[in-house]
């Protein structure tokens, strides 16, 4: 007899955007149940519900009371979990919805970006034993103040992995509107291919740069708890991408190419080369909650001045300029050059660790196409370069070809 599996299946907002899509998702669940498997469903809010609620919040108040905001935003998943339970019952699957506080999923009190502390698995286990398919409202939990908390945007992925981990599920399927993780964004690279498997680390690097199929936090959590994670289509019956620990690497040096075009670059020219200057600059940016990504510093030829370039999210550019202008005179920065017209492109692959020459191939390929590299940063399994935004598509395509991804 085939082993019966316990499977967690998460459906995101775009996968639940219409009544038809909700019904399609319910049928995917039914298919697993028909095979004799047990399923736990996690849902995001329907379509753009969370954005709409956030927009109402923004119009009502400048006062950020995170507790109230969490209570408001979590109502989206409350509705979708009930609707999914109804859709399942409609096709004869014995389902029932669970809200965060009903399980409960305990979090700390960092409302808006709360951390899951523990999940009580007793109620869920009992329901599953009775043959019921639980439909859990993602993104939400309850704090020890007896108030609803949310765990950050995209948090339903994290709810799914946390539930899979706590209940030792055999698999956690993240259903989305693409067929899996691709070697590059198919809208940018025609010959992009679905990747069959990735390590957690590769997925993590790709997720944090721009492959928006998975929330990076959920990948970390899956890695730490060794949850077998899949990215799958929510409409088509295709195999998806498996994310796990060990992969027979063979010759695969680069698994995929990801990019981000929401970055801005700021160059500070002629900074006195004194100790503590960089700390002052990045300290004041950090104080304003501005996240700095790539950093490069050059000393000028006479050794007295240096130039400093760094990248930040485009959304933070205005705030960052204001911040730099406030310390400009104190530090004696000669010139500030903001540049919105940049893009970051990264190649990710576990094979890089043991394989020299990969960076060289990247730089050579870009050079041959006359694409100038502004900044470079590397990790063990990732090389990122900052280039001009207008060269992005050309760059992705030449790299996709260079590393034999087609």
């Amino acid at each position: 007899m085939r082993k019966k599996l316990l499977i967690v299946k998460k459906f995101g907002g775009t996968s639940l955007a219409t009544i038809d899509k909700i019904k399609k998702a319910a049928n995917i669940v039914k298919k697993e149940v028909s095979l004799g498997n047990k399923v736990i469903v996690i849902v995001s809010a329907i379509g753009k519900t969370t954005d709409k609620l956030q927009s109402l919040i923004n119009k009502i108040s400048l006062n950020n009371d995170e507790k109230e905001i969490d209570s408001i935003l979590s109502s989206g998943e409350q509705a979708s979990s009930g609707l999914m339970a109804l859709a399942l019952k409609n096709i004869k699957i014995n389902a029932r919805s669970f809200l965060g506080w009903q399980i409960p999923i305990f979090t700390n009190t960092s409302y808006g970006k709360a951390k899951i502390l523990d999940i009580n698995s007793e109620v869920l286990k009992k329901e599953i034993k009775k043959g019921i398919t639980p439909v859990i409202a993602g993104f939400q939990g309850i704090s020890n103040e007896f108030r609803i908390s949310t765990i950050g945007r995209g948090g339903s992925d994290t709810t799914a992995v946390a539930i899979a981990s706590k209940l030792s599920a055999d698999r956690c399927d993240i259903h989305t509107d693409v067929d899996g993780v691709f070697t590059a964004d198919p809208r940018w690279v025609k010959k992009a291919k679905k990747i069959d498997q990735l390590t957690y680390d590769e997925m993590l690097e790709m997720a944090s740069v721009g492959a928006q199929v998975l929330e990076p936090r959920s990948v970390s959590l899956a890695k730490n708890n060794n949850v077998a994670l899949w990215v799958k289509s929510s409409s088509k019956n295709v195999k998806g991408t498996k994310i796990h620990n060990s992969i027979k690497i063979e010759k695969r040096n680069v698994s995929g190419i990801v990019f981000s075009k929401n970055d801005s670059k700021i160059t500070l020219l002629g900074i006195p080369d004194k100790p503590g200057v960089a700390a002052k600059i990045f300290g004041s940016l950090a104080d304003k909650d501005i996240n700095v990504d790539m950093i490069v510093q050059n000393i000028s030829s006479d050794g007295k001045y240096s130039d400093l370039t760094f990248t930040i999210s485009e959304a933070d550019l205005f705030k960052a300029k204001k911040c730099i202008n406030q310390i400009k005179n104190e530090i004696k920065i000669k010139n500030v050059l903001p540049d919105n017209n940049v893009a970051k492109i990264s190649i990710v692959g576990i094979g890089m660790r043991t394989n020299a020459g990969i960076a060289e191939d990247m730089f050579k390929a870009l050079g041959q196409k006359k694409i100038n590299i502004d900044l470079i940063s590397t990790s063990e399994i990732k090389i990122s370069v900052l280039i001009s935004r207008r060269n992005l598509k050309k760059a992705i395509n030449i790299l996709h070809k260079t590393y034999d991804l087609e």
Copy 2:
């Protein structure tokens, strides 16, 4: 020193339909707080939210799982309570939202039309003592199965009265989009006037017939617990209508005129005059959940047959016809005459109890305008007549004049 009051203020969906209206409602609350009073706010879902959620539910499933439906529908008040709390904080009122399960408001397990069993007042009292204005999501509670229940459409009125009763509030203000309860619907009678005060019984009769400013259940509850109830504008600063127990009656015989034009009449001709026939007819209608309102039976001249006329909600007409047709042959009903073209008009007033001649004035006034009366039904403080729908406006206006309401 003026006594500080505890006031419950309820805002319905139309009073919260836009960001501006929410802010206006918040300012009404602020005004009371500024006077040194304590306020508890009860909110319905914003605008048409509940209808929209209900429409999604209907599209997804024919399976009426009331527990899931309640969880879905209650999300509307969850969002509005948080938004109202934010709106209050934005104008420096220290507010916080409460969901039914956080208080808790305990109900039985009749999901969809649950009855409030008890309210724990401890948490609310503690918050109020700290100077916090609680904003309570109306319409919802929690059952002993640890699931969200709703208490029926328009249930926020009932939540407000139940909270006012439990916390012995000095007043319960129901804010709505009209200035109060009127002698007749101002859209139908130009000279309709706001009524300053009504008894619970009068309001109950008016509410159940057609003055849609208050949920009848909430009026009963207010009567049983002697809650001082007000119907007030949610935008204008006018006095509203007070609903309480004792009113110095003076000469006021008729307080108001209400109507309903969603009724249908069915006449059954030539029914054998045998025992048990009426029971059979109304029993089979009750089995189909069809509510019968007015009933009149006449014996034919030879005493062998009778004619039976009754009214039902227009929405039930199709169902009722089908039901009657099923028993038509068995009972030997000669003819079934459905009539959609009727309206019910009622005069309501506590003075009727002690004042003869009021019914006569009504029939005379209608007669003079050549308005035919189909059916009559009376209670201690109400007289209702069924007339042709096309005469409705004329009838309301002549009665409004007859009883000196202008």
